[in-house]
């Protein structure tokens, strides 16, 4: 299926795909530290394993950004 990932169209060789499948496919380390937006909606982390991705979907993901000075 063809989907758009972070603004770039990509062909993914899969008929069924969840958010967590895609993060693993993209070799994302620490998926629990990644925020995901699917077609403009932010997906809750507990839903990564159950949220399906369909052809023509637009998915954005980015790393949690945080830190501290101590």
């Amino acid at each position: 299926m063809r989907i758009k990932i972070n603004g770039e169209a990509e062909d993914i060789e899969a008929e069924k795909l969840t958010v967590i499948d895609l993060l693993r496919l993209k070799n994302v380390e620490s998926p629990e530290m990644v925020s995901v937006q699917l077609n403009g909606d932010i997906i809750e982390r507990q839903d990564y394993e159950t949220t399906g991705i369909s052809a023509d979907d637009e998915l954005d993901f980015l790393y949690f950004m945080g830190g501290g000075s101590l």
Partner: protein, 140 residues
């Protein structure tokens, strides 16, 4: 090395000073090898010793960068009372190996800005140099 438009340099220092006593945070975006824009983010922790970005603002900034042909170069945040070096927590949470991590320290009279590569817990210093603005400066 990061080449940083002087206007961006001044803007992130001003952001850090305006945010006191809390840490501030944001993105730096580049075009043609030069940082021409910054994106000020909400520190959802609203704390003097910690920051977390708001994902909705991160996505909005990422989309704006794409629309303007910019690329994420670095994350910046301030240390109101400690030196410009990554803390243990900064290192632990430096999850994106593709970007640099810039710290603005307000611990001394004159603000200090340093940039770091952080890969697998290893920290190395990266030169960061303010340069005179060119026409492609973006205001965000």
């Amino acid at each position: 090395m990061i080449k940083l438009n002087r206007s961006v340099h001044d803007a992130i220092v001003a952001h850090a000073q305006r945010g006191l006593p809390h840490e501030v945070c944001g993105y730096l975006a580049e075009k043609d090898g030069r940082v021409t824009a910054h994106y000020e983010m909400t520190n959802t922790d609203a704390a003097a010793d910690h920051f977390s970005m708001k994902p909705a603002e991160q996505f909005q900034a990422a989309r704006d960068m794409r629309d303007k042909g910019l690329k994420l170069k670095a994350v910046y945040h301030s240390h109101p009372e400690t030196p410009a070096r990554p803390s243990v927590e900064d290192i632990k949470l430096a999850l994106d190996p593709a970007i640099s991590y810039v710290i603005i320290s307000l611990a001394a009279t004159d603000p200090a800005i340093k940039s770091f590569f952080i890969r697998d817990g290893e920290v190395s210093v990266e030169q960061i140099t303010p340069v005179d603005d060119q026409e492609n400066t973006e205001m965000t």
